[in-house]
């Protein structure tokens, strides 16, 4: 009951009705005071947004069209950085590596997250324990420590190598192989499936039980129930996870840097986009080129975000009367 009351109060028509009344009693000075209070409370964020986000974005767009090594003044070069970039085989390699990482790693991670969430959602004893244990890798996965552990586990003669040899695959340690080292990173991101899993689990808990009971009475099997009830009901959560995980994995840096022992190799095998950006900007002092690279990354992320938001009309179901 109490929840319903607050809901009505927050809804738009009620607010519209309440506002003239407020204006009548408080008058204009009250409103001005509210504006002032709002901006005073917001002032740290506004300063941060202008100085650390908006300003740098404009500056980086400008640097992208200049030759700039941090010590001399930036020299305008037009689209040179971009044409150089598109012709650069290492840039192409970094795009390929990152695309592979995103396209293979993100779906695997989300599938595992959804699968384990479905398993845990069956509300058996020990659910909280498993949930916590599966979540733990998400907290430590980005650390240098885990990078070292990964490097060790995937070395020649270590446990992964021995297991695959035992199974009949003679690949050797993934860390030392130009073809396989990227999958070492993919394994590391998939290992951190706990964070999206927790979000899936919370979404699954919100699906009304009556829907399943009704479907079961109609004779729908588990697969039908998953496809026709679970999936549409958790589609907003799925969308959220796809969006955040994709954007996130475009920006992988630390793990690639540590697992490949700062070289992003062998043979540029883990030269993810940000590793190359770091090398160009901070090792070669090519701030203009690195800025151009950063803007290409921004465009790619913006494009993926736009496509996802456009596609959600087709597959994401938001319940209008929910909450």
């Amino acid at each position: 009951m109490g929840r319903a009351v607050t809901l009505v109060k927050d809804s738009a028509p009620a607010a519209r009705k309440a506002r003239p009344a407020a204006r009548a009693t408080e008058g204009r000075p009250g409103r001005r005071r509210e504006n002032l209070a709002g901006y005073l409370f917001m002032s740290p964020w506004i300063a941060g947004f202008l100085l650390l986000t908006a300003g740098p974005m404009v500056a980086s767009l400008y640097f992208a069209f200049t030759d700039y090594n941090l010590f001399t003044t930036p020299k305008w070069v037009g689209f040179d950085n971009f044409t150089k970039m598109f012709d650069d085989p290492r840039w192409q390699k970094s795009v390929e590596v990152t695309a592979k990482y995103v396209i293979i790693g993100t779906p695997l991670k989300l599938l595992l997250a959804l699968g384990v969430a479905l398993l845990l959602a069956q509300s058996r004893r020990g659910q909280a324990f498993y949930r916590a244990a599966f979540y733990a890798p998400s907290l430590i996965g980005a650390s240098v420590s885990v990078g070292f552990v990964w490097r060790s586990l995937f070395s020649d003669g270590a446990v992964v190598d021995r297991t695959q040899t035992f199974l009949g695959f003679h690949v050797g340690g993934w860390v030392g192989s130009a073809d396989w080292v990227l999958y070492c990173l993919v394994a590391l991101t998939v290992w951190q499936f706990g964070a999206p899993m927790v979000i899936f689990l919370a979404g699954l808990k919100q699906v009304p039980k009556e829907l399943y009971e009704a479907a079961e009475m109609d004779g729908a099997g588990p697969l039908r129930r998953f496809w026709n009830i679970t999936l549409p009901m958790i589609s907003p959560v799925l969308f959220f996870n796809v969006l955040l995980e994709t954007i996130h994995s475009f920006q992988i840096f630390g793990s690639a840097y540590v697992v490949s022992n700062t070289y992003c190799g062998p043979a540029d095998g883990t030269l993810v986009y940000t590793c190359y950006l770091y090398q160009q900007g901070f090792k070669n002092s090519q701030m203009g080129f690195a800025s151009a690279m950063a803007w290409m990354l921004l465009l790619a992320v913006a494009l993926v975000t736009a496509v996802l938001f456009w596609s959600q009309k087709k597959w994401v179901h938001y319940e209008e009367d929910a909450r």
Binding site: G38, F41, M42, G55, W191
Partner: protein, 292 residues
């Protein structure tokens, strides 16, 4: 599987028990794979350096302590404790900044009706999706001009200016769900926004504040790129950078045992925080997706 148990009642307790058994077996199997690396690093830190990669037993039959004892000597004339002090300073500084600046911003978004609020809120959400790397180079240039390189200022300033949009968002969601009657009553008593923020909203927001504080601490503790770019004097290194000093240039650490022991010690604060506060972390994570 359940068909082979031969119980007459298909929906009876026998079937339920097998189902439960299969479920637990499945979950434990995944758990074993997932936690293997964590268990491995604990075992490996008690092995001599040359055995770490090649021995397949998780725990050595003759555990040694020399890897940990070696840490007491420090590395390259720097005491290990220095890295921990630096990381602690960075992480606690970040926590204080995030708690103050994000809660003030969230209060304005959730509780004050001011012109332009919706526009600013959209901008804030937009920064959540913005790749940090676009800001990396101009920020570096700016901090370099300010003479802030090789200090913690570039790492911390954003935390005090509410650039961590995720936490602002988390707190806004929490504050919006607090009953409005509370502020209305306080206003009738003549309280201004500052009083309402400090004495009513903040105490009620404790769960959201705790979640934000722990996530901030862990993120700062694990942060690698920030310190890598801004700190260049080993005495100022955080634990992440200190760990990197254990690796050798050709990738085979001269002191492999020390590197693994240090890795474990570096993980401990995060793991302890997790054990103590896992409920706050997981619930905070879960709500971020539901209301998004």
């Amino acid at each position: 599987m359940s068909a082979t148990t031969g119980k007459p009642l298909s929906g009876g307790p026998g079937r339920k028990r097998t189902g439960s058994l299969v479920w637990h077996l499945g979950a434990l199997l995944i758990l074993a794979v997932i936690l293997y690396p964590v268990v491995w690093v604990v075992g490996a830190s008690f092995k001599p350096g040359k055995d770490i990669i090649n021995s397949l037993t998780l725990f050595p039959s003759h555990p040694i302590l020399s890897n940990f004892k070696g840490l007491a000597d420090g590395i390259a004339d720097i005491r290990i404790w220095t890295f921990f002090q630096n990381s602690l300073f960075y992480a606690l500084g970040a926590v204080a900044g995030v708690l103050i600046s994000c809660s003030l911003t969230a209060y304005a978004f959730a509780r004050i009706r001011f012109a332009g609020r919706n526009l600013l809120f959209s901008l804030m959400i937009g920064t959540l999706l913005l790749p940090y790397h676009v800001l990396l180079i101009p920020q570096y240039v700016m901090f370099q001009k300010l003479g802030w390189i090789n200090s913690y200022a570039p790492l911390l300033v954003g935390k005090y200016l509410a650039t961590e949009a995720f936490f602002v968002f988390l707190m806004v969601q929490f504050m919006r769900n607090l009953p409005r009657e509370l502020d209305e009553a306080a206003r009738l008593d003549g309280c201004g926004h500052l009083r309402i923020y400090w004495s009513i909203v903040l105490p009620l927001c404790r769960p959201a504040l705790i979640t934000s504080a722990i996530f901030t601490f862990i993120n700062a503790w694990n942060d690698f790129m920030g310190p890598l770019i801004y700190l260049n004097e080993p005495g100022k290194y955080t634990v992440s950078l200190g760990l990197m000093m254990f690796r050798d240039s050709d990738g085979v650490a001269a002191n492999y045992g020390g590197m693994i022991a240090m890795s474990l010690v570096a993980l401990l604060p995060v793991l302890l925080f997790f054990l103590a506060f896992q409920r706050y972390l997981i619930d905070g994570m879960a709500t971020s997706g539901l209301k998004g």
